[in-house]
């Protein structure tokens, strides 16, 4: 009897140890309510390069000085790897207590219950949003609830190589162009460009440009979980870019892969295209890339074209931080988010590295600081100008947007290479949207 008992006990021990190892159970003791102390360890997961990771380390240092009982463990990965990891971790109920999120994919996680709303933390004052504009806050909302606190906004504008455009003899673009005028301007620029250089990158498959097209035509992208524009809107958009390509004003469809890679390798950053849409922080990077390619030039930006002068087509999105439902230290996570978004020292340490800082007071601190790089100051100034003039618009970023983004790119290529008609592609997009937005 002794041996079987010992053996049984041994197997039970092995099984229990294995189960613990496999499930990752290791005790807890945290507080999943918002009322706990700012203490203990939380993880902060975000995407970026080593330079950004260093800046986050600096912010963590300042935070831990202010909250000696709390520690923040950073977890960084490059964007694509981060997105994949996010999916897997969400499936395993294992998201970091402070998880980096973005308007473009926020709804996927919020609607599936992976994230907790932050509204109670905002109401209690644990997260202060008094210095963050309402339209910026909206970029972190899903179905009216705040699931992400925006910490760095992005707005895609119409960027152009000012020196190259001036050489063509064409006037600089203005903030009040309609889409038709924009097309005419591109053709005028093209007339003055040398062979092999194009007036614009080819954006027929870019979701952000298409969203601007919809907004600029007085439409709404998504409403009540369905596409809120008609197929003709998309077909017209495809036609607009196909015509520009046929006229030689947009880079050929075969060169589209070049504009999908690293920013520094895009046609505009290499002087092969005179214009293209860019997020505000990318204007300065494009300028630096041009200088690096031996084609130093000033990169300026104007508002996206809009057929209605009262409707801005500058769509605002944001990066930010969310708290998952599974977080067992909400109070510390909230304190970290509040600190990251609002503290002036944190702003100076992070240097607005992932989108433009959302807190207006912290923006001023950045502008006043002598150590803030010129590019960062330029970004903040542009955003403040857009905010003051009200030339921004918000849009709902639906769950399923990543699918639609990929589908738009694919279908435009099918059309551009003559493998599908414009109407077939528009219809296929709507069919795909039914599944993606379901």
């Amino acid at each position: 009897m002794t041996n079987p008992t010992r053996r049984t006990f041994g197997w039970i021990t092995i099984a229990a140890a294995s189960a613990l190892a496999l499930t990752g159970c290791g005790g807890g003791g945290g507080d999943s309510t918002a009322d706990g102390e700012i203490a203990g360890e939380i993880s902060y997961a975000f995407w970026g390069n080593p330079a950004r990771a260093e800046k986050v380390d600096d912010v963590i240092g300042v935070f831990e000085d202010a909250n000696p009982e709390a520690t923040v463990s950073p977890e960084v990965a490059d964007y694509m790897a981060y997105i994949e990891r996010l999916t897997v971790r969400a499936a395993g109920n294992d998201l970091a207590c402070a998880t980096g999120t973005q308007s473009t994919f926020l709804a996927q996680y919020a609607e599936n219950g992976a994230l907790r709303p932050l509204d109670d933390l905002i109401e209690s004052g644990q997260i202060d949003v008094s210095d963050i504009p309402e339209d910026v806050l909206a970029a972190g909302q899903v179905d009216g609830k705040q699931y992400m606190l925006p910490t760095g906004t992005f707005v895609r504008l119409l960027a152009y190589n000012a020196d190259l455009v001036a050489e063509t003899g064409a006037p600089a673009p203005t903030d009040d162009l309609t889409w038709e005028e924009y097309g005419d301007w591109l053709r005028e620029v093209q007339d003055g460009l040398p062979d092999g250089v194009y007036a614009t990158e080819n954006e027929g498959g870019l979701m952000f440009t298409f969203m601007s097209w919809v907004a600029g035509h007085g439409g709404t992208f998504v409403e009540d979980g369905k596409l809120a524009f008609d197929q003709d809107t998309l077909a017209d958009y495809f036609e607009f870019w196909l015509d520009l390509t046929d006229d030689g004003a947009a880079i050929p469809a075969a060169s589209i892969p070049d504009q999908l890679g690293a920013l520094e390798l895009t046609p505009m950053a290499n002087g092969i295209a005179a214009s293209g849409t860019r997020d505000i922080p990318h204007l300065y990077i494009t300028e630096q890339a041009l200088a690096g390619a031996g084609k130093r030039a000033a990169v300026e930006a104007v508002s996206n074209p809009s057929d209605d002068p009262d409707e801005s087509a500058n769509i605002l999105g944001s990066n930010g931080i969310s708290i998952p439902e599974s977080c067992d230290n909400v109070a510390t996570a909230a304190a970290w988010i509040d600190f990251f978004a609002n503290d002036a020292d944190a702003a100076l340490a992070f240097q607005s590295d992932n989108g433009i800082l959302t807190n207006t007071t912290a923006q001023d601190a950045l502008l006043d600081d002598a150590d803030t790089p010129d590019g960062v100051k330029q970004n903040v100034t542009i955003l403040q100008g857009l905010t003051e003039s009200g030339d921004l618009t918000t849009t709902a970023y639906p769950a399923g947007l990543p699918t639609l983004t990929a589908e738009l790119q694919r279908l435009y290529q099918q059309v551009a290479f003559g493998e599908m008609s414009v109407d077939e592609a528009a219809a296929a997009f709507f069919t795909a949207a039914e599944d993606a937005l379901d």
Partner: protein, 319 residues
């Protein structure tokens, strides 16, 4: 008499009975030790491979979205795949084209070079290492990016063509007609691993066979056809099988070169890339699981076909 007779017999019987018991106990202990040594692998296999494989079969009959519940939908995923999903067929077409073109070419390059290198030329080790290096780095991110630099409109290939008087701005990687070809070339470039195996196989062929053939007046081509190929056929079969399986699993290069899109216009949409898109972009894990199982069945069927063919064309020395 009877007692003396019976006693040893009884003792002998007991001894005989105890012997098998001790033997059985020893075997059990040995078996237990064996199982204990196997336990880490077994846990790993069940938890990391076997378990997920079984679960994925179940998920293929659900609408699992990774963040939501898995509701049973029966064979809907498979029906949709075969009857509605044009991209599934496009992915199959791309994968089979890639396989049918690149796998034989890899064998030709690898065997051809191995045949040259086996002749005992000076610096053989250096050549061998040199040709093997692409196999080590060929599937890496850096090489995939390099491929874009070579085959884009302003890439090295077009610069070279311009230098020799054939100016062109054709984007080999950006046109659907040629994009897959660049990936085929990338795969062929990684022939080193197959070459090393061929080299080892060639060295095992008895030299007497060649000597006898020479005496009989056979030329180089005849010797290659009648001696080298038959004697090397098990190695060729092995390489072929490995490369076919690898072609079905090809992912990295297409993912990086096309920025994960499978473009232009789905011309580099490898099956695994499509599976990835459905799982990790669309969050349609149920459908992705079904795609995975169909790939497994196709891969298994092709492998079975190759094994069946091998009975006819592969020559083992002991036959």
């Amino acid at each position: 008499m009877s007692a003396t007779t019976i006693a040893p017999t009884a003792t002998g019987t007991a001894a005989k009975a105890a012997g098998p018991r001790r033997g059985a106990a020893r075997r059990r202990r040995e078996n237990l030790a064996g199982y204990l040594f196997m336990t880490p692998w077994l846990i790993g296999f069940v938890a990391i491979i076997g378990g997920p494989v079984v679960v994925s079969l179940y998920l293929s009959f659900t609408d699992y979205s990774i963040l939501g519940d898995a509701d049973w939908v029966g064979t809907e995923n498979y029906q949709k795949m075969f009857t509605e999903d044009q991209r599934f067929w496009a992915a199959l077409r791309v994968t089979f084209t890639y396989l049918i073109v690149s796998v034989p070419l890899v064998q030709v390059f690898a065997l051809g070079l191995a045949t040259l290198l086996v002749r005992g030329i000076r610096g053989l080790t250096a050549y061998r290492a040199l040709f093997y290096v692409p196999s080590l780095i060929g599937g890496s991110v850096a090489i995939a990016i390099l491929w874009r630099f070579i085959f884009s409109a302003n890439g090295l290939l077009n610069n070279f063509l311009t230098a020799i008087g054939l100016p062109t701005d054709y984007s080999w990687i950006g046109m659907p007609e040629t994009a897959l070809s660049t990936l085929v070339i990338l795969n062929i470039w990684q022939f080193g691993a197959a070459m090393i195996i061929y080299l080892a196989g060639l060295k095992q062929i008895p030299t007497e066979l060649y000597e006898a053939a020479t005496v009989d007046g056979a030329g180089g081509l005849r010797k290659f056809w009648s001696i080298t190929l038959p004697m090397l056929s098990p190695v060729i079969f092995f390489n072929l099988l490995m490369n076919v399986v690898a072609a079905f699993q090809a992912f990295n290069t297409a993912y990086i070169v096309s920025n994960g899109t499978g473009g232009p216009a789905d011309s580099t949409l490898f099956y695994t890339l499509y599976l990835y898109q459905r799982g990790f972009v669309d969050f349609d894990m149920g459908y992705a699981s079904a795609l995975g199982w169909v790939l497994l069945v196709i891969c298994g069927a092709v492998a079975a076909g190759l094994f069946a063919l091998s009975r006819r064309v592969v020559f083992y020395g002991d036959e």
